[in-house]
Symmetry: C2
Amino acid sequence: MNDDKTTRTTVRNITDLARLAGVSAGTVSRALAGKSLVNAKTRERIEALAREHGFRPNQMASGLRRQKTSVVGVIIPLGHDVRQQISDSFFMTLLGHLADELTHEGYDLMLRRVVPDNDPDWLDRFIGSGMIDGVIVIGQSDQFDRIEDVADGYNPMVVWGNHTEGQRHCVVGTDNRLGGRLAAERLIAAGARRLAFLGDTTAIEFAARFAGAQDAARRLGIGPIMALPTHLSPERASAEIAAHLAAHAGAIDGIFAATDTLAALCLTELRGHGFAVPEAVKLVGFDDLPIARQTVPPLTTVRQDIAAGARALVDLLLRRLAGETTESLVLPPELVVRKTA
Amino acid sequence: MNDDKTTRTTVRNITDLARLAGVSAGTVSRALAGKSLVNAKTRERIEALAREHGFRPNQMASGLRRQKTSVVGVIIPLGHDVRQQISDSFFMTLLGHLADELTHEGYDLMLRRVVPDNDPDWLDRFIGSGMIDGVIVIGQSDQFDRIEDVADGYNPMVVWGNHTEGQRHCVVGTDNRLGGRLAAERLIAAGARRLAFLGDTTAIEFAARFAGAQDAARRLGIGPIMALPTHLSPERASAEIAAHLAAHAGAIDGIFAATDTLAALCLTELRGHGFAVPEAVKLVGFDDLPIARQTVPPLTTVRQDIAAGARALVDLLLRRLAGETTESLVLPPELVVRKTA
DNA sequence: GACTCATTTGCAAACGATTGCAAGATTCCG
DNA sequence: CGGAATCTTGCAATCGTTTGCAAATGAGTC
């Protein structure tokens, strides 16, 4: 009387279910995994019972035994600017797309944000945890070398970031240097002659954008571009931009912002300081985030295809999980001309 | 000669390391877990070896044995508006804060976005996977009832969303109704009389904001507020807002947008249609996202304290993991007056 | 030296699912 | 009806770590 079948019997594991179904644990496992080796009727009976009791095989145990977790790690190193987290909607958007793509491929996503300065071991620790089948690193930050080290001994890793000649880790990213060139060319074509770059060049992606802009300036016979170091978090950035503007008032007539977020803030500050955009100062951003459409005037910017980037990251990672070794992928940036330059 | 100790010996598990250290697996386990039962010298030797070989205990195995994974699930149901994902920077910001808080407490974060319509079992499936110790649900979407059902049998769950009298699941969220009231009161105080609400009232949070606004209108003797259903994704929203404006041209002089994102889009459309803000039409948003500061003119809005929300979610979840049963927490919204109303 | 008591250790049984192997049950064919 | 071929199923080992229990060691006391 204590095991009336209609009573809620707690089914904690495959063995409980096996007992209920009157078969062995192995059979239940095979039935639930959808293998062909099990009789159709038996399978149905087991599936019905599983449904009825809301039973799902424990993924930890399964992962342990199969040596495969079906979880992909996504890690964001916050190296050069710890507070970027809140501001950078670019990374967050990329993350959203990654979640969609991975889900679609049957993987779960384990997210970790780390401050490499506090924890030099950040990447190995994640990989060595045994919880993930592979890892996607979002942004190289200032950790290029460490990522290179890891890449030598660990195959299923793909990185979003900048591509450098001869690097050993597989990276997906926009051609930042070309993007920087496009931005500067546009500023110059719009009439700007005294250019400045707004952003923190410690981050390798930003450095590349800056370098590209300088290439263009040099080639077109324009003087060197002034670097105006600026953090990404809105709280700090606003003040820093204001300071830059105060210091270099009339000496600038074209600004290339490392990010649309920075560009938008810069636009606000420019207005506050009484500079007309684009008449007095031209401005170009980077990313083409939704905000670029909504500023006044709307922002001329360099577009990165975030969705395509996410697709590529996942695709390459899956190939690597399957044993291939894949090449890096550099995506072309695209100049979007709106009203600020 | 094939096991020269200085040669890279692959240490795959605790047993390998035990062999190297000349002790048993159990001792290694205790040493690495920092238990007091192991001799100081032995521990040091083991730790040194572990470091040298970059060994870390497998979390899957550990989780299986201890019945505790140190992973918290974060799940985003995309019920009422599947494409909200890309746009809603509110959720993404919340997610960022959650990641920080959880990391700080020694938990990892497993992220999953689901479309409940395609998978009615979304929540049980996540919980039953055995991969997570507890779950944080971001947004109730249109899944209130299902969440209630689950809450009855599963304790370690906390939800971000709207609080309803007598509900059974533990929720953290802003007092949306009060927020809506504040917004409407501000619009009316600024002189608006014919109000509209911009947003999709299928989402329970938005419905509460709408209801709060209606309370205020009624109490102040203003006519009913017109509901203008609008999706959250920028692509669809822009067109929908334009259509609303075209249809109800002069019949509106005050708009309460369910979200700052919508408010910003609305501002752009209003400008496009030649309406002066705040002179012809007053506008109030919700959230106080960074963008609210940057629109032209800057947006009057109702602030939600996202960081505090994330802290509360994690705090309550940890308490529930420890066995407590916790009450819901309703956070007070705050009106931030800028220039649009 | 015999005794107790506290430290350290090893042993082996879990945790829950998967899977190679072999045995049992069926079917098929002559 | 015998025997081979094909399906199904059960058994038991395995994934890597943790932990209760008991044994071994060492220290301290009279």
